[in-house]
């Protein structure tokens, strides 16, 4: 269960998030849509504290992210404590960010050993299972540069899943891919959604939002303009901004 309340964030003079409130049940899929520069990615990066919020609270299963509350003061957590929290929040990047000097298998296995203290044999066994699940069991020994973009992103998803996160955040997971490779990554995302993984997905794939999302959120200029079921937001948008945006992407 994720609760985001009153989150503000500025970069210098530019206010990127202007008071975001969002709630997501465990096991639900939330898709965030919106034009570029609307603050979608920043919001996602605040949820795992890659960016510090200026104001507002983010809780996952009741646990405050990045801070410890004492009275009405918020004490920033040490890097060590933040890292421990992040190990339970998966993050999938637009540019994959696989470790290039490690094979696909090592990419999936090693974070388990380093961040969770798992035994190597257990970690590698799990890594094999996950590569199987994303359809890459035969590429386990390949280095990221030897894989296509779609394959790299599937390895990155397996790497995030390996830590058994409570929640996975996807930051435009298909935007850096050739159109023909988008489908293979969306297939993996659909499987995860059907399997009950809690997900927040920033994407421009309206089709995916319609099929897989429980909630669709439309953001513009640092605010949530509209949220609701896919049918409500995509087919009957109430706000002028979302109507204009959707009319452009739903040709």
């Amino acid at each position: 269960m994720i609760e985001i309340s009153g989150v503000h964030k500025s970069f210098g003079d530019v206010a990127v998030l202007k008071g975001i409130d969002l709630f997501a049940e465990a096991g639900s899929v939330t898709v965030i849509l919106g034009p570029s520069g609307s603050g979608k990615s920043t919001l996602l990066r605040c949820v795992n504290h890659l960016e510090k919020v200026d104001r507002g609270l983010i809780r996952i299963d009741g646990e405050l992210i990045g801070y410890r509350q004492a009275g009405n003061r918020l004490h920033e957590l040490s890097e060590r404590q933040v890292l421990r929290q992040r190990a339970r929040i998966g993050f999938v990047f637009q540019n994959f960010n696989l470790f290039p000097h490690r094979t696909a298998l090592q990419n999936v296995a090693e974070a388990q050993i380093w961040a969770l203290g798992k035994s190597p044999s257990a970690a590698y066994e799990k890594a094999h299972e996950l590569l199987y699940a994303v359809g890459l069991w035969d590429r386990a020994g390949a280095y990221p540069r030897q894989l296509s973009g779609g394959q790299q992103q599937r390895v990155a998803i397996a790497r995030a899943l390996a830590l058994e996160p409570k929640l996975i955040l996807f930051d435009e997971p298909t935007s850096a891919l050739d159109p023909e490779l988008v489908g293979e990554v969306l297939d993996v995302l659909r499987d995860l959604a059907a399997g009950g993984t809690t997900m927040i997905v920033v994407t421009h794939e309206i089709g995916f939002a319609r099929e897989a999302a429980d909630t669709v959120v439309f953001m513009d200029e640092g605010r949530i303009v509209e949220q609701g079921t896919p049918a409500a937001v995509l087919d009957d948008p109430q706000h002028e901004r979302s109507r204009a945006f959707l009319s452009k992407v739903l040709v």
Binding site: R80, R86, F91, H101, R159
Partner: protein
């Protein structure tokens, strides 16, 4: 690994044949270079001034080999202490703390500004500035030692080389760390990997690709910089050949003794560099090219 052989195709007489372009100037250039090389080699063999008998007489002589050992020791110790000093300098310069960053910047500025020769003479004359050196609480009590006892001329040489190297090594390491894509830091942080592991397993192995060629350069340059410490009358290779030609007057052949040893050592370092770089190239290229040795083997067994 399987080797794919292209399927044989029936030759068609009407298929146009590709004729490679001719490069007459390339041939002319090659001929010219070969003539010059031949002339140079001829001179090496026939000019009596090279005095190869004296050269071979001293090349493996005991005092020369001992001096060579000292040169290697100075290079090795200078490199080890230099890089050990470079690590904190790089870390400090990249630190968000302005005091640490400025101190590191100033150190690098000073030690890159002062010529190594001048610096060596300063260290050798430290006893003139400070009679005694003291270990203890800053501005408080402590033990003191006479400077001259503590810093021998070998100590001064090593200190000078290491401090000089550290300034350059710090910059080389910093450049390497900066060359790692920001996304790698973010991915490691997002996975919750502990900070030390992020550095040692993810950032450093990738930084090594940028660090190694420059570090090898620095090492080769250090090998030859050790010849400067002859001013402190330390019996390393260059000092030793000077002593010998001071005695027998055969300057050129003895300079060649030192030169050939420097060339051999640099060659060994270059080979070491090649294989170390190859090790850290994993994943950076799709397939590693064969080593020269593998290429020769393939050419022979073909």
């Amino acid at each position: 690994m399987t080797v794919l052989t292209p399927p044989r195709r029936k030759e068609n007489v009407d298929d146009p044949v590709v004729v490679p372009a001719r490069h007459p100037w390339r041939w002319a250039g090659t001929a010219l270079v070969l003539v010059l090389v031949a002339q140079f080699v001829h001179g090496l063999v026939t000019n009596p001034g090279w005095d190869w008998t004296t050269f071979f007489g001293y090349f493996l002589e005991k005092s020369v080999l001992e001096a060579l050992g000292l040169t290697l020791l100075l290079t090795l110790a200078g490199a080890v202490f230099g890089f050990l000093g470079g690590i904190p300098l790089a870390a400090m310069r990249l630190s968000p703390n302005p005091v640490l960053a400025t101190v590191s910047w100033a150190y690098i500025w000073v030690f890159r500004s002062v010529p190594l020769l001048v610096q060596l003479l300063f260290w050798a004359n430290l006893g003139y500035l400070y009679d005694t050196l003291q270990i203890g609480i800053p501005f408080g009590p402590g033990y003191s030692f006479p400077t001259v006892d503590l810093i021998s001329s070998f100590g001064a040489a090593l200190l000078g080389l290491a401090l000089h190297e550290a300034a350059y090594a710090g910059e080389i390491i910093r450049a390497g760390l900066l060359s790692v894509d920001h996304g790698q830091h973010e991915a490691a942080a997002a996975l919750g990997i502990p900070q030390w592991r992020q550095f040692s397993r993810i950032v450093l192995p990738q930084a090594m690709r940028a660090i190694l060629p420059n570090a090898a350069n620095l090492l080769v340059s250090l090998l030859k910089s050790t010849s400067i410490v002859y001013v402190l009358a330390i019996g390393e290779l260059f000092y030793q050949v000077q002593v010998i030609y001071g005695r027998n007057g055969r300057v050129v052949p003895l300079l060649m003794v030192a030169t050939v040893w420097y060339v051999i050592l640099t060659a060994l370092l270059s080979i070491l560099q090649y294989y170390t770089e190859r090790h850290f190239a994993r994943g950076a290229v799709r397939t590693l090219p064969p080593t020269p040795f593998q290429r020769i083997k393939a050419a022979i067994t073909r």
